[in-house]
C-alpha cells in the first residue's frame, strides 16, 4: 500500500511542479490554481492516511495558502511560487523516503508559508473562469478532436488568410487546385469565409476573404513558400493556447446534451437545438472576447447549418483505464518478444514440416502459421503501445530548470514546449532525460545572451528556448532550439586548437557544419568561465553518445547571432528492431537496419583498395573507409582479394563507412536482449538476440565499432575526397603546369592530389601514363597539349598529379606546382573575354590572370569523352537551369551545350520562376541553395502551380547529406544529383524523362 502512495504522490508532485512554473506565467489561471490545490490536497490526504505527519504538515500549510490564492485573496507572486517550489522539493524528498520523512528539515518552508497566512489578505473579485481565445480564432468552429490529433503529432496550427482572387486567381491558379494543394500539406480544421460587403443589391466584390485554420508538420517559412503568401497572411497559433482551450473543452462537456445537463451554457442565448447540440462548441461563444458581430454571426450560422456525425455525442465518454505496474509491463513486453522469436522459428520451420505432409495438411499448417504470425505481430504492437508515454511528462520538468536557471543567470528566458502529446517508448523517455536536460541547460547558459547583450544586438531582452517533439517519417524528432547567439565556427576552431583536439591546418579545412561538430568532442567547452550550470566539458560528447546508444542521431543547425537548434532523431522503440543478419565463419551477428544504407559486392567497378594501411571502397563518387568485421572481432580471416565478401554501407551520424563481412544471411525482426554481465564491458555489442533458427546472435553496436576505428584522418580524408562538395561551392585550387600561365579548377572536381617523381611517368606514343600498384594505370594529361596556352618546358624532378572525381576514366592532370587553395570571389569568373575549348573563363586572383579550366573539355580534347553519343535522346529537350554560382553555371552550360535543344540558365530560383512563366521547358535542373528563392522553394512553387506541377525537376547540389535528400523529396524533386558529373547529369535527365 505504501508503494502505491509513493507512486501516486510522485505523480501529483510532478504535476505540481509543472503547474507551479506555468502559474508563474499565468498567475490568475483558474484551472492551474485548481489543479495545484487538488494536487497538494491529495498528497496531504493520502499521507494522513498512512500517518506520515511530517508530509501532512507541509502539505496542509501549502493547501491553506493556495486556497487564498485560488480565492483571489492573495497574489501568486514569483516569491510565493519559489516558496511553493522549494516546499514541493521537500515533499518529493519525503515521499521518496516516507519512513524517514520526519528526518527531513522543513521548518524554513513551513515558517515562511505560515507567515504568508498571517498577512491580511485583500478581498478580490474572483478571477474569470474561462480563458479567452484571440479574435483571429473566433470565426472558426474548431473540432477539438482535430486539434488534439494535430497536437499529438507535434503539428503546428496556423490561420491562413486568403484572398481567393488576389492570392490565387491573379497568380494564375484555380481555387480548387490551390485548395487541393493546401489540403495535401496538412489538415484543414475549419474554413471561415467573410460575408461582409456581399449583397445582391450591391456590386459583387471580386475577392473573397477566407480564413483557414490549418494543421501541418511544416514550419511557417516552408508553408508560406508552399502557399505563395506573404508572411502577414499566416498566423501561427501557439500550441499552449490550443492546449488550454482543449482542457477547457473537457470542462465544457456538459454543454453537450446529457442526462444531467439541463442548463444550457450560460452564454448561449437559447437552449440548443439538436443540430446545435451535436455540433462542436463554437469557439467564439463560451471562450473568446466579444467578437465582431459579423464573425459571431458566422460562427453561429455554421454551427446551426452543419450537421455533425452522431459520434460527437459520445465523444465525452472517457476511455476506461487501469493502473499497471511498469514491471508487469516489462514482463509482458519480454513475453511478447519471446513470442516473436517463437513465431520467427515457426515461420522458418513451417515449410519444411509441410513438405512431408499432404497438400491439405500443408495448406492448413501454412494458414495456422500465418494466423499465429499475425496475432503475434498485433500482440507485440499492442504491448509496445502500452509502453508509450507522452513526452510532455519529460518536457514538463524543463520549465522548472529554465525558470531556476533564468533566475540564477540573471536572464529572462521563456520555454515553449511543442508536441507534448507525442508518445515515446518509456525506455527512450528515460534515456532522453539526461541528454535533453543538458541541452536545455546549455541553451540557457551558453546560447541565450544576457539581456543587455541581446538589447545591443537588436533582440528582445528575453530569450526563448523551444523544445519540440514530432513524428516524422517513422522516427521521432526532438529539437531544442534557442534564439541566442548561435555557434561561432571560428571560436569553436580556436578552442579546439587550444585544447589540442585539431591542428590549425585541420581547422582551416573545416566547414562551418564540421566546426559545429567540435562541441561533441570529449573535453570540449567554449564557456569562458566554467560554471556550475554547464560548461564542464563533460557534457556534449556524453549527450551524443547517449543519443547514439538509443539508436538516434544528433544534428546541429546554427546561425551566428540568431540561435542554435540541436535536432535529435530517434527510432520509435528499442525493444524490437529490424536487423540484417550477417555471418562471420560459423557465427551470426545482427546489424540494425536503421543504419544500413546499402550492401555492395566489391569488384572491378567498386574496388577495395588499401591506402596507407586503411582500407577504402571506391563507390560511385565516394571513397569510403572500410572496417573488417573478422579483424575487429579477432575471428579467423576468410576473406581475400579474390573473394572479398560483402561490404555493408553504414550511416552513423552522417558518417558513411563500410563494414566488410563474409556472409549475408537474412533480415529479421529481432528482439533486443540485454547482454550478459561478462559482455557488458565491450563496446562492440549493444545486445543479443535469438534468431529464428534458435541461434544466439550478438547485436553489433555500430557506434562502438566505429569509435576510434574510423580515425580522424579518415573523416578529413573523406572531406578532401569529397572535394569540398559539402564545404565550399566556390573553393578553387590554383596551380601552375610548367607554362607561364596560372590555372585553377574547382576543388569540388578533385578527388585527390599526389606528388610523384617525374621519372615514374612513362611515355607511350604521344601519351603519358603512370602505373600504379594499387589501382588502374592513370593516363596523365599535360595541359599545354590540350589548351591553347604557351608551350611548357621540361618537367621538374617531382610533379603533382591532380586526380579528378566523378569521371569514368583513370586520368590525372600534371601540375608542376600547387600554388593555393582559395575562394573564387562572387562574380570573378569572366567567361566572355577568353573563350576556348577546355577553358571556362578567367579570373583575376591576387592580381594575376588565372585560367579556370574545364576539366571535361580537356578530357574531350584528349579523346577521353566517349559517352557523348549515348545521350542522343536529349537532343530535342528544352532545359532550364537555376544556379547561382558562376562556376557551376558555366560548367553546366558547357556540360549540356550541344546535347540539348534549348538551354536557358537562370541566376537563382526567382529568375528561374520568371522564365518558367514565359517559356516552356521539358526539365528543370536546379541548385538547392540560392538567394531570393532557393531550390526547395522553387520546387514547391512549381508543384503548386496548375500548369507547371508535372515538370520534371532535378536537384543539382554540392551537398550530399540525408537532410537535403529528405527535404528535396518532400519538396517534390524527382531526382537528386551531386555536382558535378556531366554524364551522370545527362543520365539523370534521361531517367527523369524516360523512367521506363
Amino acid at each position: 500500500m505504501l508503494d502505491l502512495f509513493v507512486q501516486e504522490a510522485n505523480e501529483h508532485l510532478a504535476t505540481l511542479e509543472t503547474d507551479l512554473v506555468a502559474l508563474d506565467a499565468n498567475p490568475r489561471d483558474a484551472a492551474l490554481l485548481n489543479r495545484i490545490f487538488r494536487a497538494v490536497h491529495s498528497v496531504k490526504g493520502t499521507a494522513g492516511f498512512f500517518g506520515l505527519t511530517a508530509i501532512t504538515d507541509v502539505a496542509h500549510v501549502m493547501e491553506s495558502v493556495m486556497a487564498l490564492v485560488r480565492d483571489g485573496r492573495m497574489d501568486a507572486t514569483p516569491t510565493l511560487i519559489n516558496l511553493f517550489l522549494a516546499s514541493t522539493d521537500k515533499l518529493k524528498a519525503m515521499v521518496g523516503a516516507p519512513e524517514r520523512s520526519a528526518d527531513i528539515p522543513t521548518q524554513d518552508e513551513r515558517t515562511a508559508l505560515h507567515a504568508l497566512l498571517k498577512t491580511e489578505p485583500p478581498v478580490r473579485p474572483a478571477p474569470a473562469d474561462q480563458p479567452t481565445l484571440p479574435l483571429y480564432l473566433s470565426s472558426f468552429n474548431i473540432d477539438p478532436e482535430l486539434v488534439r490529433d494535430a497536437l499529438r503529432h507535434g503539428h503546428h496550427c496556423y490561420v491562413v488568410q486568403l484572398r481567393l482572387h488576389a492570392d490565387i486567381e491573379a497568380q494564375g491558379q484555380t481555387i480548387l487546385t490551390y485548395l487541393n494543394d493546401v489540403e495535401s500539406l496538412g489538415t484543414i480544421i475549419d474554413t471561415a469565409t467573410d460575408l461582409a460587403g456581399v449583397g445582391l443589391g450591391e456590386a459583387i466584390p471580386a475577392d473573397v476573404m477566407c480564413s483557414i485554420l490549418f494543421a501541418t508538420a511544416m514550419e511557417s517559412d516552408l508553408l508560406l513558400a508552399a502557399f505563395n503568401l506573404p508572411a502577414e497572411q499566416l498566423v501561427h497559433v501557439p500550441a499552449d493556447l490550443l492546449k488550454t482551450w482543449l482542457q477547457t473543452q473537457a470542462t465544457l462537456v456538459p454543454a453537450y446534451p446529457s442526462a444531467t445537463a439541463a442548463t444550457p451554457p450560460p452564454v448561449v442565448p437559447q437552449a440548443p437545438s439538436p443540430s446545435q447540440a451535436l455540433a462542436p462548441v463554437p469557439v467564439s461563444l463560451p471562450l473568446s472576447a466579444p467578437a465582431a458581430p459579423e464573425l459571431r454571426l458566422a460562427a453561429q450560422e455554421q454551427s446551426l447549418a452543419v450537421p455533425q456525425p452522431a459520434a460527437a455525442a459520445t465523444r465525452a465518454k472517457p476511455e476506461e483505464t487501469v493502473r499497471i505496474s511498469v514491471n508487469l509491463l516489462d514482463t509482458l513486453m519480454n513475453l511478447a518478444g519471446e513470442m516473436v522469436l517463437g513465431r520467427n522459428r515457426l515461420l522458418r520451420l513451417a515449410p519444411a514440416g509441410g513438405e512431408t505432409g499432404t497438400a491439405e495438411s500443408q495448406e492448413g499448417l501454412t494458414g495456422i502459421v500465418q494466423d499465429i504470425s499475425a496475432v503475434t505481430s498485433d500482440l507485440q504492437r499492442t504491448i509496445m503501445r502500452a509502453r508509450l508515454q507522452p513526452v510532455g511528462g519529460l518536457f514538463g520538468k524543463f520549465n522548472r530548470i529554465i525558470r531556476d536557471l533564468g533566475q540564477k543567470l540573471g536572464k529572462d528566458i521563456s520555454l515553449e514546449t511543442v508536441g507534448d502529446d507525442v508518445e515515446l517508448d518509456r525506455a527512450l523517455i528515460e534515456g532522453l532525460s539526461d541528454p535533453l536536460t543538458h541541452l536545455i541547460r546549455n541553451s540557457a547558459d551558453h546560447g541565450i545572451e544576457p539581456p543587455d547583450e541581446r538589447t545591443r544586438a537588436g533582440k528582445p531582452p528575453g530569450g526563448h528556448v523551444r523544445i519540440s517533439a514530432a513524428h516524422l517519417a517513422g522516427r521521432v524528432q526532438i529539437e531544442v532550439r534557442d534564439d541566442g547567439r548561435g555557434l561561432n565556427p571560428e571560436k569553436l576552431k580556436s578552442k579546439a586548437i587550444e585544447k589540442g583536439l585539431i591542428t590549425s591546418e585541420q581547422a582551416a579545412r573545416l566547414s562551418e557544419t564540421e566546426a559545429w561538430q567540435l562541441i561533441f568532442a570529449p573535453g570540449f567547452s567554449t564557456a569562458a568561465i566554467v560554471s556550475d550550470v554547464s560548461g564542464r566539458g563533460v557534457g556534449m560528447d556524453v549527450v551524443k553518445t547517449n543519443i547514439e546508444r538509443l539508436g538516434g542521431r544528433v544534428e546541429i543547425r546554427s546561425v551566428l547571432g540568431q540561435g542554435t537548434a540541436i535536432i535529435i532523431r530517434l527510432p520509435l522503440t528499442l525493444a524490437i528492431i529490424p536487423a540484417l543478419i550477417i555471418g562471420c565463419g560459423t557465427r551470426r551477428f545482427a546489424v540494425p537496419q536503421l543504419n544500413l544504407v546499402e550492401i555492395v559486392r566489391p569488384g572491378e567497378d567498386r574496388p577495395l583498395e588499401d591506402f596507407g594501411g586503411a582500407r577504402i571502397l571506391r563507390l560511385r563518387e565516394e571513397l569510403l573507409p572500410v572496417l573488417n568485421l573478422a579483424d575487429l572481432l579477432g575471428l579467423p580471416q576468410t576473406l581475400t582479394a579474390e573473394s572479398p565478401g560483402f561490404v555493408l554501407i553504414l550511416n552513423l551520424d552522417n558518417r558513411r563507412f563500410g563494414l566488410q563481412v563474409e556472409q549475408i544471411a537474412d533480415t529479421e525482426e529481432i528482439v533486443v536482449k540485454p547482454l550478459g554481465r561478462h559482455l557488458q564491458g565491450t563496446s562492440l555489442y549493444s545486445g543479443a538476440t535469438l534468431l529464428g533458427q534458435g541461434e544466439i546472435a550478438l547485436i553489433i553496436d555500430l557506434a562502438g565499432l566505429a569509435a576510434g576505428r574510423l580515425p580522424a584522418e579518415t573523416t578529413s580524408a573523406r572531406k578532401v575526397l569529397k572535394a569540398g562538395a559539402e564545404l565550399a561551392s566556390e573553393r578553387i585550387l590554383v596551380f601552375s603546369a610548367g607554362t607561364p600561365e596560372t590555372f585553377a579548377m574547382h576543388i569540388a572536381n578533385i578527388q585527390r592530389i599526389e606528388k610523384i617523381e617525374t621519372s615514374r611517368i612513362e611515355r607511350i606514343g604521344a601519351h603519358d601514363y603512370l602505373r600504379r600498384k594499387d589501382g588502374p594505370t592513370l593516363r596523365l594529361l599535360r595541359i599545354q597539349d590540350h589548351l591553347a596556352v604557351t608551350p611548357a618546358g621540361p618537367l621538374p624532378a617531382e610533379v603533382h598529379i591532380i586526380v579528378p572525381r566523378l569521371v569514368h576514366h583513370p586520368v590525372a592532370l600534371i601540375a608542376d606546382c600547387i600554388l593555393d587553395a582559395t575562394d573564387l570571389p562572387a562574380g570573378a569568373l569572366d567567361s566572355a573575354s577568353f573563350r576556348s575549348p577546355g577553358i571556362l573563363g578567367t579570373a583575376s586572383l591576387n592580381e594575376r590572370l588565372t585560367i579556370m579550366i574545364d576539366l571535361y573539355g580537356i578530357m574531350q580534347a584528349a579523346g577521353l569523352d566517349n559517352e557523348i553519343d549515348g545521350f542522343a535522346a536529349l537532343s530535342g529537350l528544352r532545359v532550364l537551369v537555376a544556379e547561382d554560382t558562376a562556376f557551376f553555371r558555366e560548367a553546366v552550360r558547357r556540360g549540356l551545350h550541344g546535347r540539348v535543344k534549348t538551354l536557358d540558365i537562370a541566376e537563382d530560383g526567382e529568375a528561374a520562376w520568371q522564365r518558367l512563366q514565359k517559356n516552356v521547358y521539358d526539365v528543370l535542373i536546379t541548385d538547392l541553395e540560392m538567394p531570393r528563392l532557393n531550390g526547395f522553394e522553387l520546387t514547391q512553387r512549381i508543384r503548386a502551380d496548375a500548369r507547371l506541377k508535372h515538370l520534371p525537376i532535378i536537384a543539382l547540389s554540392a551537398r550530399d547529406n540525408e537532410d537535403f535528400h529528405r527535404r528535396a523529396e518532400l519538396a517534390g524533386i524527382n531526382h537528386y544529383e551531386t555536382k558535378l558529373d556531366r554524364d551522370r547529369l545527362c543520365s539523370a535527365i534521361t531517367t527523369v524523362l524516360m523512367p521506363h
Binding site: 486567381e169 445582391l200 456590386a203 466584390p205 471580386a206
Partner: protein, 103 residues
C-alpha cells in the same frame, strides 16, 4: 437563367458558368426574381449547367445566401459538378449554401 416557382419553391437554374464576366448581370437578375416571387418560401440554386465558378461567382452565391437569410427563405444549391462541389466543401460553404448531399 431559368426560373420556376413550384410549391413555394423558386428554382433558379443558372444558364452557364458563374464568372466575373457575367456576375453583375446575374446579381441584378436574382434580385429581380426574388422581388417578383414573394410567395416563395425556399430558393433552389441549380448549378447543373455551370462548369466553372470563380471568386466573384462564389461571392454571388454568398450574396444570394445573405439575401435569402434576410428574406427568411431556405436556400439550397443543387447539382453542382464534382469540382464545384469539392471547392465549396473545402471552403466550408456546403452547410451555409445548403448544398444537397451527393447522390
Amino acid at each position: 437563367m431559368d426560373v420556376l416557382l413550384t410549391d413555394h419553391t423558386l428554382r433558379i437554374t443558372f444558364a452557364g458558368d458563374l464568372l466575373s464576366t457575367n456576375i453583375d448581370a446575374l446579381s441584378a437578375a436574382l434580385l429581380q426574381h426574388l422581388d417578383q416571387h414573394t410567395e416563395a418560401r425556399a430558393v433552389v440554386a441549380d448549378l447543373s449547367r455551370a462548369r466553372m465558378i470563380d471568386s466573384k461567382g462564389i461571392n454571388l452565391l454568398l450574396a444570394l445566401y445573405r439575401e435569402t437569410q434576410r428574406r427568411k427563405l431556405a436556400l439550397s444549391v443543387e447539382q453542382p459538378t464534382a469540382d464545384i462541389r469539392r471547392m465549396l466543401t473545402l471552403l466550408n460553404l456546403n452547410g451555409r449554401l445548403g448544398l444537397t448531399p451527393q447522390p
